[in-house]
């Protein structure tokens, strides 16, 4: 669903704004074929060459265009990390990197097609806004907003989404409790978190934009316990949370995808259960912590 939204929104942006460009490395090339036929100079498929994909994006940005770059997360981020660091960041150039696959959407493809570490890798670099939309409508809004500036933006699309969209990118309270415990759900983790915390006296907060994290919004909740549920490497946001709450006595728990490779296939739901990120697993971890 998010992938279709990405194709439709980016195809529209290419038609509306002559600054927009799209660089592909074969992934989703068929879906963008109508756009490529209309804008052959701005829809560029470099073949299975991910280093070149991001290098080209850096060059396009240096001439004033606004490049969107797209592939599976492991190829766009893990494989071409130095291109993100040097061909964009070091050049003081921007791009919009839009990925699919994420942590285990490609569950049956195996670890080669998975990138639980993408957000952690981007956290080593300067100036990246990281969006993890929880709904296709949120993704459309983010992709459109990214066309209006030249910064570095990462949009991590997911195959699963929440029942309802939450517009905006600030931290939102979804359910308010009376204890000081706050469960912060990132992107598509919201629905599993809502199910997991049913009947517990906790506040459930939501963000689709973990970088920069809306730390003011978190502090305003006066948390004494913070539980982060993020759909990528567990602990990715621990640094940001620790800095935000440096002067506030608190305990914290960081839930996410394990660093240990899961050598199994099945569905994304199977992987979520394996990592304790389904409603049952989350409930177990949260109750144990509280």
């Amino acid at each position: 669903m998010m992938r279709e939204t990405f194709v439709a929104t980016t195809t529209a942006l290419l038609a509306e704004d002559p600054r927009t460009a799209l660089v592909l490395a074969d992934i989703s090339a068929d879906a963008f074929e109508p756009a490529r036929r209309r804008h052959p100079d701005r829809v560029l498929n470099v073949g299975i060459r991910e280093q070149l994909m991001t290098g080209v994006a850096g060059g396009l940005a240096l001439t004033g265009l606004r490049p969107y770059v797209h592939s599976y997360a492991p190829f766009a981020v893990d494989r071409a990390y130095e291109q993100l660091k040097l061909d964009l960041g070091h050049q003081d150039a921007g791009a919009v990197i839009v990925t699919i696959g994420g942590s285990y959407d490609a569950s049956a493809e195996g670890y080669t097609h998975q990138s639980p570490g993408d957000v952690a890798l981007l956290d080593t670099l300067e100036g990246w806004t990281v969006h993890v939309p929880g709904h296709a409508d949120e993704a459309a809004e983010m992709l459109r907003a990214a066309a209006r500036h030249d910064d570095r933006v990462y949009v991590r699309l997911s195959a699963t989404q929440n029942a309802k969209a939450c517009p905006g990118t600030d931290l939102k309270v979804i359910r308010r409790g009376t204890s000081g415990a706050v469960v912060l759900a990132v992107g598509p983790m919201l629905d599993p978190v809502l199910a997991a915390t049913w009947g517990l006296d906790v506040t459930v907060a939501y963000t689709n934009t973990p970088r920069p994290l809306d730390t003011a919004g978190l502090l305003a909740l006066h948390p004494t316990e913070v539980i982060v549920a993020e759909p990528y490497l567990a602990g990715t946001s621990s640094r940001v949370i620790a800095a935000a709450l440096a002067h506030v006595p608190h305990r914290s728990l960081h839930l996410g995808v394990s660093r240990t490779e899961h050598r199994g296939y099945g569905t994304p739901a199977d992987h979520a259960a394996h990592h304790g990120l389904d409603a049952m697993g989350l409930r177990r971890s949260i109750e144990e912590f509280l």
Partner: protein, 212 residues
Amino acid sequence: MARITADRKHAPSAYSTLDVLQVLYDRVLRISPETVDAPDRDRFLLSKGHGPAAYYAVLAAKGYFPAEWLDDIGGRGSPLGHHPDRVLVPGVEVGTGSLGHGLGLATGVALGLRAQGYVGTRTFVLLGDAELDEGSNHEAIAYLAAVGLPVTAIVIDNQSATHGWPGGIAVRFPGWQVSHVDGRDHDDIAAALRERPDRPHVVIARVEPKGQ
């Protein structure tokens, strides 16, 4: 060049590029300190960011920045490092140092210029023969040939690649127009760089082998 003493580590690579850079800035590139931000200026990307002393010397001689800057390459507070940074140095199009990034960036620059209708603007990129060891170059070499984009790549060949390039450098550029020049002969270099084929063009500039 005589002012530049700090960058001893990269001395052979610094001097290997000097004549090509002089020809580019004297006789080929449509760019000046006044047009350094003009959208239709010619682009020169130094991919081989190692040993930028000759590059800095030429830019200073052309007035992109004060010649006094050359006295403190690599110093604290100096805009000139042992690898060039486009954010710090006027006239530098890309920050390089890690090898194998310039050709991909140049591909994007040429595509961006074409998409905006700057058809008269040329894109040049300079690499070293040892730099071709990096696989990322070969992604760009194959793609540029496939789409027939007229980028001009200059390979300075001072035979510095550890395992060499048996069969020569030219055969690594299938589908490209190839010119061989004497990397110390200004007329030879200028004639090759002024050619404007409608496909990518590699100019292989042979200089004395590294270490001799």
